[in-house]
C-alpha cells in the first residue's frame, strides 16, 4: 500500500550537467555545459509542456495529471504498462483531448498545434509508424517533403551505421530495425522537443543498447527537451535528468536522477519494528515473508538510526515496484 500518493517536490539541481561542466568544477554555478547544451539554471524554468489539471476519462481508465516540463531537460516517464504514459504522450500531440483541464505545448493548446509547431517536435510512438509498404527511400522522400530542416545526409549516414537497408519494405524489417527507423525519423529534423514512447519495447539487448546509446549521444549534443517513456528502467538510468512515475493514471513521484540516487533507498523492515518507525519516512511498502520491503526518500535517516537494517540505494525498478502500484499490504 502506498503511504503517499504524490511527492510534489521538484528539484532542478542539474547535478548531472554540473559534473560534466568545467565551470561547475570550480564551484561556478552560473553556467553549466554538457556538449553543445549551455544553459543558465534559471532558464530551465520556462515550461515546454504544461499539463494543468489535465483529466482524460475513458470508460475504464482515468488519467489525472499536472506537470510542467521545462526546456532542455531529458525527462523519463516511467510506470507499468497501462498506467497512462502513452495517453499523456498522445495528449501532448493533440491526439487525445482532455475531458477537463489543459495541455499546452510551446505555450499553445496541444489541439491547436499548427504544422509549423509540429515541425519542432520529433516523435516516435510505440504502436504506430509509416506504412509497412514503404522502404527507407520512401521515408526519406516523405520526410524531405514534410520538414524544412530534414537532415537527409545525417539520416542516410545513420541508416548506414545502423545497418538499415534502403530498398527493403518496412514490413520485412525486424522490430528493432523498425524502432531505429522511427527514432531516426524523430531526430533528423532539428526538433526542439523529442517525444519517444517506449522506443525500446520488445527489442533484444543489442538493439536496445544501440538505440539508447544513440539517444544519449543525441541528447548530449543537442539543445532540446527529450520526453521518453519506458517501463524498462535500465534504459533510462543515466539518460534522464528527471523522472515522473505514473501509476493508475496519476503521478506518484517526480524526482531528479540525482535525487533518486542520493535520497531514495530500499529497506527491509521486520514485522516487529515496522510499526515503531514513523510513516513519514516510508514512501511505499510491500509485505513479504520476512517483514516489509519498503522504499524511503530518507535513506540517510535509516542509515543513521537503524544501522542493523539492510538499506540499499533505490533504483528505478524499486520505485516502479514499490511506488508504482505494485505494492500490497
Amino acid at each position: 500500500m502506498r503511504l503517499k500518493n504524490t511527492v510534489p517536490v521538484i528539484y532542478y539541481s542539474n547535478e548531472k550537467h554540473a559534473c560534466l561542466s568545467s565551470s561547475s568544477a570550480n564551484g561556478n554555478e552560473a553556467e553549466r555545459t554538457e556538449g553543445n547544451r549551455t544553459k543558465h539554471p534559471e532558464q530551465h524554468g520556462a515550461p515546454m509542456i504544461e499539463f494543468e489539471n489535465f483529466v482524460k476519462q475513458y470508460k475504464d481508465f482515468r488519467l489525472e495529471i499536472s506537470m510542467n516540463i521545462p526546456d532542455s531537460r531529458v525527462i523519463g516517464i516511467i510506470g507499468k504498462n497501462g498506467c497512462g504514459k502513452s495517453t499523456a504522450i498522445k495528449a501532448i500531440l493533440g491526439l487525445v483531448r482532455p475531458t477537463s483541464g489543459s495541455v499546452r505545448v510551446f505555450g499553445r493548446e496541444s489541439k491547436d498545434l499548427t504544422p509549423r509547431d509540429k515541425e519542432k517536435i520529433g516523435v516516435s510512438l510505440s504502436d504506430s509508424m509509416f506504412s509497412p509498404l514503404f522502404t527507407v527511400e520512401d521515408v526519406v522522400a516523405i520526410l524531405r517533403a514534410m520538414y524544412r530542416d530534414f537532415d537527409e545526409p545525417f539520416f542516410r549516414e545513420m541508416c548506414g551505421r545502423l545497418n538499415l537497408p534502403s530498398g527493403k519494405p518496412l514490413k520485412e524489417f525486424s522490430t528493432g530495425m523498425k524502432e531505429k527507423v522511427k527514432v531516426l525519423a524523430a531526430v533528423t529534423h532539428n526538433a526542439s522537443l523529442l517525444i519517444l514512447d517506449e522506443p525500446t519495447a520488445g527489442l533484444d539487448v543489442e538493439a536496445r543498447s544501440e538505440i539508447i546509446g544513440f539517444l544519449k549521444e543525441y541528447a548530449g549534443s543537442h539543445d532540446c527537451t527529450v520526453l521518453i517513456s519506458s517501463h524498462i528502467s535500465a534504459d533510462l538510468e543515466g539518460l534522464c535528468d528527471e523522472f515522473y512515475l505514473f501509476s493508475g493514471g496519476r503521478i506518484v513521484l517526480h524526482e531528479t536522477d540525482s535525487g533518486i540516487g542520493s535520497r531514495y533507498g530500499t529497506v527491509q523492515i521486520p514485522f516487529e519494528l515496522f510499526d515503531s518507525i514513523g510513516r513519514q519516512y516510508i514512501s511505499g511498502f510491500k509485505k513479504e515473508t520476512f517483514g516489509y520491503a519498503c522504499i524511503t526518500n530518507s535513506r540517510e535517516f535509516f542509515e543513521r538510526n537503524y544501522p542493523e537494517l539492510k538499506v540499499k540505494p533505490a533504483g528505478i525498478d524499486d520505485l516502479i515496484l514499490l511506488l508504482g502500484g505494485g505494492t500490497e499490504e
Binding site: 510512438l125 504502436d127 504506430s128 506504412s131 520526410l143
Partner: protein
C-alpha cells in the same frame, strides 16, 4: 500538404501491378464494347485507387503517427480531396485516351466527337461518389464503413423504389421537353452537373473536416 501528397503518390505506385491490370481492363472495354463506358470505368477506378490511400493511412494504427508529423486535420482533408481529384482526373484522361484510340482504330471518330460533350460529366459524377465514401470511411473507419455504405445505398435504393411506386417512373424526355430552349444545350447540362457536384463536394468537405477535427487516436 506536399509531404502527404508524396506519401500518397508513393503508396499508389507501390501497387504498379494493380495499376497495369486496371489499364488493361479499361483498354479491353474500350476496344471491345462501348468505348465511352471505359472512360467512366477508368475515372471511377482511379478515384477508388486514390480513396484507398485513406485505408493505408488507417491500417496498422497509422493515424497517431501520421498526425504526429507536421499535419493537422485541415491539411489532411484538403490533401485527401486534392489527391482524389487528381486520381479521378488522371483516370478520366487515361480513359479518354483509350476511348480515342479505340475510336480511331475502329474508324468511329464521330462517336468520339459526340462523346467529348458528355465525357467531362463523368468526372464530377464519380468524384462525388468517391468523396461521399471517403466521408463515411472517415466517420466510421474502414471496417464499419463497408457496412454503413451498404446500408446507405440500400436505403437509397428502397427510397427510389418507393418514389417510383408512388409518383411513377420519371420520363426524362418529357421533363427535358418542358425546359426552356436555352437550358436544353448539352454544355448547359454538363455545367449544371459541375455546379451540383461542386456544391456537393463543398458540403462533403465541410463534413469531412468536422469529422477529422473531432477524431481522437
Amino acid at each position: 500538404m506536399k509531404g502527404l501528397l508524396v506519401k500518397d503518390f508513393r503508396l499508389v505506385l507501390k501497387r504498379k501491378q494493380q495499376l497495369l491490370i486496371l489499364l488493361a481492363v479499361c483498354a479491353m472495354i474500350a476496344f471491345t464494347s462501348d468505348g465511352s463506358f471505359a472512360v467512366a470505368y477508368a475515372a471511377g477506378l482511379a478515384g477508388i485507387l486514390g480513396l484507398s490511400t485513406y485505408a493505408f493511412d488507417e491500417h496498422d494504427n497509422g493515424f497517431p503517427f501520421l498526425f504526429s508529423l507536421p499535419v493537422d486535420a485541415g491539411t489532411y482533408v484538403k490533401e485527401k480531396y486534392l489527391f482524389c481529384v487528381l486520381c479521378d482526373l488522371a483516370g478520366l484522361a487515361a480513359g479518354t485516351a483509350l476511348f480515342f484510340a479505340a475510336c480511331a482504330a475502329n474508324g468511329k471518330m464521330d462517336a468520339f466527337r459526340d462523346g467529348l460533350v458528355y465525357l467531362p460529366a463523368y468526372f464530377p459524377a464519380t468524384l462525388v461518389l468517391i468523396l461521399s465514401v471517403l466521408l463515411v470511411q472517415m466517420k466510421f473507419g474502414i471496417e464499419r464503413s463497408r457496412l454503413v455504405t451498404l446500408l446507405l445505398y440500400g436505403c437509397l435504393f428502397v427510397l427510389s423504389a418507393v418514389f417510383v411506386k408512388i409518383v411513377g417512373p420519371l420520363d426524362g424526355t418529357r421533363l427535358a421537353g418542358q425546359l426552356p430552349e436555352w437550358m436544353k444545350s448539352d454544355w448547359f447540362i454538363v455545367a449544371g452537373i459541375y455546379a451540383l457536384a461542386a456544391t456537393a463536394c463543398a458540403v462533403l468537405f465541410a463534413l469531412s473536416l468536422q469529422v477529422m477535427k473531432n477524431r481522437e487516436y
